[in-house]
């Protein structure tokens, strides 16, 4: 089951770790908030995506089932 990156914008405080850990998929907008890819996470980057989710200090990043 492929996964999709989503962010809880209420919890997100713009720490920016996700963009550092997963630069292939995540960039930051001009205010420091993450811009996530629309499609599913490529298989090869799933491990890194999981790390970004665990390392987010605000626990705002989520790896959900792509629906």
């Amino acid at each position: 089951m492929s996964k999709q990156l989503r962010v809880n914008p209420i919890g997100c405080a713009g720490h920016g770790l996700c963009a550092e850990l997963l630069p292939e998929l995540i960039t930051l907008d001009e205010w420091g908030y993450p811009l996530l890819p629309a499609g599913p996470v490529p298989r090869g980057l799933e491990r890194q995506a999981r790390r970004a989710v665990t390392d987010c200090p605000a626990l705002a990043l989520v790896l959900a089932d792509a629906s």
């Binding site: 809880n8 914008p9 209420i10 919890g11 405080a13 205010w31 811009l35």
Partner: protein, 439 residues
Amino acid sequence: MTHHATLPRPGRGQWAAGDADGGGGVLPRLMPARAVPVELDEHLGRFGAPPYRGAPRRLIGDVEAAGLTGRGGAAFPTHRKLAAMAAGRGPAPVVIGNGAEGEPASSKDKSLLWFSPHLVLDGLQLAAEAVGSVTVALYIHRNPRLHARLAAAITERATAGLDAAGVELIEAPHRFLAGEESALASRASGGPALPRFKPPRASQRGVAGRRTLVQNVETLAHLALIARYGPGWFRSAGTADEPGSMLATLHQADGRTGVVETMPGTPIADLLRLPAQAVLVGGYHGTWLPGAQAERLPLANAALRPLGAAVGAGVLAALPGDRCGLAETARVVRYLALESAGQCGPCFNGLPRMAGALAELAGPRPSPQAYADLQRWSGLVAGRGACHHPDGTARLVGSTLRVFAAEIDHHAHGHCTGTSGRPFLPLRADPPLDDADWT
């Protein structure tokens, strides 16, 4: 088919029915023929007692056949919401009638609750029965007179034994977002009217963690009539894809405003005195259309959606020729920015900056950056909040840049075609200052 009530008398949010329709006696349905609130005995005399079906789900088939869609703006098929709630397992769900329209330009829900509260209350009971709920509430903006009228109506019905479930009246602050589904659930749970992150939706975890059915009060009123007269009757108005009647709030170019009961498919030119410079369709999360284009369009999603517009909650405003569309929209976007819940970075950073840039474009000799900034920020905010506030605001701004492109050019050269700076589109004067303004 031009079925509609005649244009209303001056005054905000007042229902006025004249010759109810052009022929056929189809309208009015929800609103009384005379601009007088309907009391319980008159309601019972005209419609009879609420026709309970005796068990959950039985009403849903009729609602499906009738093709009723939500009248809160999203136009979601009502039967699907009811069926999903009825099919859910666990503790009995909560049913809440949403009368907090939030939109300063919309008065239809307030008018409906004022003039025909018993249709809404009937609908609330029937919806509750259909989904197996015994916990029912009505959610309205803080308004002492309306609150008193509704409380009295509820008490009267309880005394008469009409209601299967007691109805709680829940008050919301006068925030644009107060009627948003998750904000409603939060407020109804005792907290502030702030949108929450989804999932879970209110239908899964809403008021006090319980599954919650939220229905616009107009939708409930239609439900109350479908239960009595059936789907065939409901479909005798409107179009095949958008059946039934609908309430609309009209803002005429001469300043008159009022609520009318009309039906999807009605030409916009029958509702608004046109031609106008431009027409705002769908409220402050809606879309501007050029006046000449609006003149040829019916008020129906089938015609509006291909143009990037939607009926929404039925707000139509005709911009007078002497106003500047940029200045008007700049005021609205400033209001929308200040109504941000302040929870999501892209929203509370983007919307105020968009408001500033649009205010600059609405002024003389805007900086060359302002237009590009506004476009970039509109793109940056859409879809990145916990609710659709940034999306709707970006939609309004996008249509403003398109429809008033010529005006933008004028302003860049130091001219403005507007001759009157008097505010036209209605706004509230009380921006939220602290947490208390959200409860």
